[in-house]
Symmetry: C2
């Protein structure tokens, strides 16, 4: 059995019994019922994920997958392609957005090359799992083969499992890949059956004119490839990206190991849609962090049924939103574990 | 000169020159311009507040002011009045919502009694600055005298100054006071010239029927007292509360000492409106944390011109939202200080 199938079989629904017990405690905490909103939901979800009332989520890692995209040659990106490699190096050095924010959050950042154009410096600390130097141009044919798509997911599974074996108990997903809002919009256009124009945004500050072009490129890619929306791997292969597949894999691995996975913005959400397409139960293990300002992001979050709780107007990607969400998620645990209950003080619930 | 007047004179506009320099750096950081959204705004604001490019905001304190309200006797609250005292004690013990969340956030919590009905246990760690045991019933006359209103602000100034002298470099405001959504809604009804029905919410899970009654109580209080909306102290005295005045004072003291003050939900925002009414420049020193689910909160935030960035559906108060915002605010500093710039890597800005 392949690694992917093994992982898919391991993923079980959330522990409903533990969620019920946790919810009872949350409602009995010394506060008006419901008054801590999303923190209450997260506390219950963490119990459902881990099967524990007070799971440890203090060892935090952001897994950043990097890859390039053949569709870049269609002029859909504002930055040159070598920026992917540059940002990968900056991230392991702690000098990118996610690097800086993770330092503050007490999270470690790990970078994995799934298929960027740039070569990896073996001394950089970036894990080399390059499938090849960038996907193919999806406007002309599939971005990757079906086997490559599966492999990209397995790279993500493997990377997440390394982190989990090293004791990390909450993961965030991040990515760097110049032009990867294009495959992300394509994935949602296919899965959600909407015109790419509704999902195509500025990415890294693309001009209005180029956005119109970008939407047409996605329309063409879908027309040329005819992805089967019932087969998430087919969608990933035809209009996705290596780092998107890898993020989906990391989510699956987290779910299989009963570890919460914090998803970042638009591209992470596209990866989540692929992961959920492969195994709907993975959804319960995901915590959606921030509402990205990228145009398609609101559609993407709604599509996977997630409600982001950070409204920061961010659209950087890299896992930056996941990094700043970690401590709020751990706050939900502290709420559940540290607060007194109405029982403790001999009062009735308000 | 009174302490209040001294503080008001000390408050200066933000350091525009430092904000300009900080903004230049933020725009030169290795990310698409604007792509870290609110974090970018906060980084620039922190520079404007402190006059420093990379101000230390690592020593975090939530100042929780507690007080009771004469209007409680009109049946506007879901919980009994002794809960104020109970929650004050639970907060110093780290067992309330803000207590638990502050532990996770690495923030210290300090509690000051400005006028609750319950007696303070001298060994509790609560600072005793009781003006009197609860305000008067504002439906029948002013909640407090003009002098008491000023005194409540000065209690807040004094408490904040103690924290600042002890090295805290970022403050959050919080409160406990059963029925204090009623004076908060009254303050915004007066200052914003809107019917209380538009601002009156469930507080701690009040029934629909009692909310209608609560709005009428506020209408009556305004009709009886005729607060002068051009005089913030008059508004505070007639339809406010001791802990609301004290929070306003803490904001003023933070601004006078060039320290950022994180405001929490609806009641903190009402206090901010009073502080801004006394000195408009204080606004620049405030960072609005979360969008409370309490009905009038969106109006309140808009009224003071603030945009909350946490969308957690919370409505507990106590400073709980300020607590979970601290690390995100410090994240903005890390972004500015730790990220590489385009200059560092020899690239042009995207």
């Amino acid at each position: 059995m392949s690694l992917l199938n093994e992982i898919l079989e391991k993923i079980k629904p959330l522990n409903e019994e533990m969620m019920k017990i946790s919810k009872e405690r949350v409602d009995f905490l010394l506060k008006p019922v419901g008054s801590l909103g999303v923190l209450e939901e997260i506390a219950v979800q963490l119990s459902g994920i881990t099967g524990e009332m007070y799971p440890d989520v203090s060892k935090k890692a952001v897994l950043v997958f990097v890859g390039d995209h053949g569709v870049f040659e269609e002029g859909v990106a504002a930055a040159p392609q070598e920026v992917t490699g540059l940002m990968a190096n900056m991230t392991v050095a702690g000098k990118s957005g996610v690097g800086a924010l993770s330092k503050q959050a007490g999270a470690d950042v790990f970078v994995c090359d799934v298929g960027m154009v740039s070569d990896v410096d073996p001394k950089s600390g970036i894990l080399m799992k390059k499938i090849r130097k960038g996907t193919s141009n999806m406007r002309k044919g599939p971005a990757m083969t079906y086997e490559e798509a599966k492999l990209s997911i397995e790279v993500g599974i493997d990377f997440a499992e390394r982190a989990i074996k090293n004791g990390y108990n909450i993961l965030g997903t991040g990515e760097v890949g110049i032009s990867n809002t294009t495959p992300s919009a394509a994935i949602f256009a296919v899965l959600g059956d909407v015109d790419p124009g509704e999902l195509t945004g500025a990415g890294a500050n693309l001009s209005e004119e180029k956005m119109v072009h970008k939407a047409q490129v996605i329309r063409d890619a879908i027309a040329v490839n005819k992805p089967d929306k019932k087969d998430a791997i087919d969608v990933l292969a035809k209009v996705g990206g290596f780092e998107i597949g890898a993020m989906a894999g990391a989510m699956l691995a987290g779910a299989a190991s009963k570890i919460p996975v914090v998803i970042d913005g638009f591209i992470s959400t596209a990866a989540a849609a692929i992961a959920i397409g492969l195994k709907p139960e993975v959804k319960g293990y995901l915590i959606c962090s921030h509402a990205s300002a990228e145009k398609g992001a609101a559609f993407g979050s709604a599509f996977i049924g997630a409600t982001p709780f950070l409204n920061m107007g961010m659209r950087l990607g890299e896992g930056s939103g996941a990094a700043i969400a970690f401590n709020i998620i751990e706050g939900a645990l502290y709420m559940n574990r540290e607060m007194a209950t109405y029982g403790d003080v001999g009062l009735g619930v308000v």
